[in-house]
Amino acid sequence: DTSLTEVNSFSPSVPISPSSMINQYKFEDGPELRDLFITVDDPESHITAIETFITYRVVTKTTRGEFDSSEYEVRRRYQDFLWLKSKLEEAHPTLIIPPLPEKFIMKGMVERFSDEFIETRRKALHKFLNRIADHPTLTFNEDFKIFLTAQAWELSSHKKQGPGLLSRMGQTVRAVASSVRGAVKNRPEMFTEMSNYMETFSQKINLLDKIAHRIYKEERDYFNEMKEFGPIHTLWSASEEDIADSLKGLASCIDRCCRATEKQMAGLSEHLLPILHEYVLYSEILMGVLKRRDQIQGELDSKVDALANKKTEKDLFSEEIGKLEDKVERANNALKADWDRWKQNMQWDMRSTFMNVAENNLRYYEECLATWESFLASQAVDLHVDEDSEDRP
């Protein structure tokens, strides 16, 4: 990033220690086994003559021997993350590569560079890198290592190497052409089951995402009305004498419940919403992975079909067929293993996320309950005082 004309820091960078990271993230293979710690923070905007973009600081701490140093700090922009993702997909077509946050937000009025958008993206990018770090295969990917460690100019030059865009496109076109017929009829039962599962899962997770957003919106509307409700009682207390204290007490209870609502909403947007969104993206990724597996199988099947009619050249192509058969087997095994792993993680994520939602709501209700109970107690005290002092009619 050589042409910086303006640097704008959005948030102070907070040094994160490995021990605090353990508390924040679930380690898919157990904290003791982790030897790679990555954080994404400190978004900065860069304005050049041509464009405006944001870079994020990526800090890596590691004890691995393959890394020359134990600590790295680099700056990356969204494009770089996209590049990494596509390299990983290329290298491991039937592995489940974690989702990246979307390029644009279609719904809502979130501006491209609003603080909210940047923060949401930062958290998602952080998650993305950590999921890769936790993956038994992806964590050792060379491009991943370069992404984490290379300086800006090194990364640029590395990106320019490797198969160009055109050749990659060519591969895809061929793959698509061959996958149209045949892949479905020879597909092992297991992958058909997976496909059916993903169809329903995708539907449900999308619905849950919508529901969660709807709840958040309704809560915000409720919060806005409640904010007005408390102060009216305070206003009223100004015209009263005897009941002024009770009115003020009620007003302060409502205000406290309001603040509790805010906290609860923050909890939703902190945990539930990002996770559901991540799994919406995951469901797309998984359907893509299943397709790619079908494509690989399709290559094999179409070759086999083509040879069925040419009895004389069978020997010549048997080596090629053998290679394709190996490719299919490797792809299937990789996917199966990764699928099992993904399912386990999904289960863990869903369980902990929804438990968190429940705990969040419990905290909210418990705080409100305490508020109202103490109000009631204060009124009971007043009532006893009044009863003693007034003459009974």
Binding site: T200, K204, Y222, D242, L362
Partner: protein, 402 residues
């Protein structure tokens, strides 16, 4: 309080019934009739319960009763009727007068009205009120025969007309100001409360969607299935719980509404006093001017410009006989005026004394009732929180089994 009717008699508005009939213009109409049941409270020594007496009344008859009481006892803060039309409703509640929920809440409001009147030391002794409770036929005629409509001052109907009172009673001015503030703040409160209820309804109901989707999702999961399914059930329970919660909250709204309307009754008393004071001042002013006229005629000096003075200058003076006659008339009027002024003053002082006594009684009742309303609001919130805790505790356990 010992002598009031409420202590001697149980009064309930126990039922509401839709009726059709022909009104005064012979047009068919539908209305609701309410069953008023009364029973004398027997002392402990007597073995059996007194029989229940009952009759049906419609809302317009309640209105007639209240109008009668307002006119007949202008110094009393007369209890208000429940609202004629549903106001301040949040959108799930119907604003239709025939809606069963509205009718039910009105039934309760009407019963409350009767109990309030029956517990009032002065109002409970009124014979028209007693007849309203006990005498089905001929009651309307009885009320009209009292001629109370003639007593009703039409000037009071012009709610915003101001009477220029030169020496307003400071206490009544303050009270009127208070009643305006009370009306304004309670209206505002009720409006916002209705919006809050709307929003809260939305939050709870959307959670019901969780229930449906969890259930559908559980069908494709092996290990997570049971946890999801049972959690979904709790989400349905949560969504359904809001209906009862908000129904209870309506009672809080109704309690506040009563005092919204009571504020009007309070204001009415202030207005009546204002009017009395105005009449008194007008009468005093009239008396003063008559005395002045008399003096002018007697001494022949014209101190102030008057048409009579001008015409007499233009057309010639009156004869001494004419002047004598005029003076005599004026002297009679002045005497009458002084007696009237005296009785008006007395009336005014009595009014202020009895009005203020009732206002003090009302203040105590208001403070007691409103404090109770605030407490009952807190109680409702506590119940809502406890229900929420129960549901989410159950849900959490289901999630943990996922």
């Amino acid at each position: 309080m010992e002598d009031c009717l409420a202590k001697k008699m149980e009064i309930t508005v126990s039922e509401a019934e839709k009726r059709t009939g022909r009104n005064a213009m012979n047009i068919q109409e539908t209305y609701t009739a309410y069953l008023i049941e009364t029973r004398a409270v027997e002392s402990q020594s007597e073995g059996h319960c007194a029989p229940v007496e009952s009759l049906w009344r419609r809302y317009s008859e309640f209105e007639l009763l209240r109008n009668y009481l307002s006119v007949t006892y202008p110094h009393i803060v007369v209890p208000p009727l429940p609202e004629k039309r549903a106001d301040f409703v949040w959108h799930k509640l119907s604003a239709d007068n025939m809606d069963p929920d509205f009718v039910e809440r009105r039934r309760i409001g009407l019963e409350n009205f009767l109990l309030r009147v029956a517990s009032h030391p002065v109002l409970c002794q009124d014979k028209i009120f007693y007849a309203f409770l006990m005498q089905e036929g001929g009651w309307k005629e009885m009320v009209n025969e009292t001629g109370f409509q003639l007593k009703a001052d039409s000037r009071l109907k012009a709610l915003n007309a101001t009477f220029r009172v030169k020496n307003p009673d400071k206490r009544f001015t303050e009270l009127k100001h208070y009643s305006d503030e009370l009306q304004s703040v309670i209206s505002h409160l009720l409006r916002v409360r209705a919006r809050v209820a709307d929003r809260l309804y939305g939050v709870y109901k959307v959670h019901g969607n969780y229930g449906r989707v969890f259930s559908e999702w559980s069908a494709i999961e092996k290990e997570m299935g049971d946890g999801l399914q049972s959690a979904g059930h709790h989400m349905d329970v949560y969504a359904a719980s809001i209906d009862d919660i908000l129904e209870e909250e309506e009672h809080y709204a109704d309690q506040l509404k009563e005092y919204l309307f009571y504020a009007e009754a309070l204001r009415a008393v202030c207005r009546k006093h204002e009017l009395m004071q105005y009449d008194l001042e007008m009468a005093a002013q009239d008396l003063t001017s008559k005395k002045q006229q008399c003096e002018e005629l007697a001494t022949g000096t014209v101190r102030t410009f008057s048409l009579k003075g001008m015409t007499s200058k233009l057309f010639g003076q009156e004869s001494p006989e004419q002047r004598e006659a005029k003076i005599k008339v004026l002297e009679e009027q002045i005497q009458e005026g002084e007696e009237q002024l005296k009785s008006k003053n007395l009336e005014g002082r009595d009014f202020v004394k009895s009005a203020w006594a009732d206002i003090e009684r009302f203040k105590e009742q208001k403070n007691h009732d409103l404090k109770e309303a605030l407490i009952s609001y807190a109680v409702m919130q506590i119940s809502m929180c406890k229900k929420g805790i129960q549901v989410w505790t159950n849900a959490k356990e289901c999630f943990s089994k996922m």
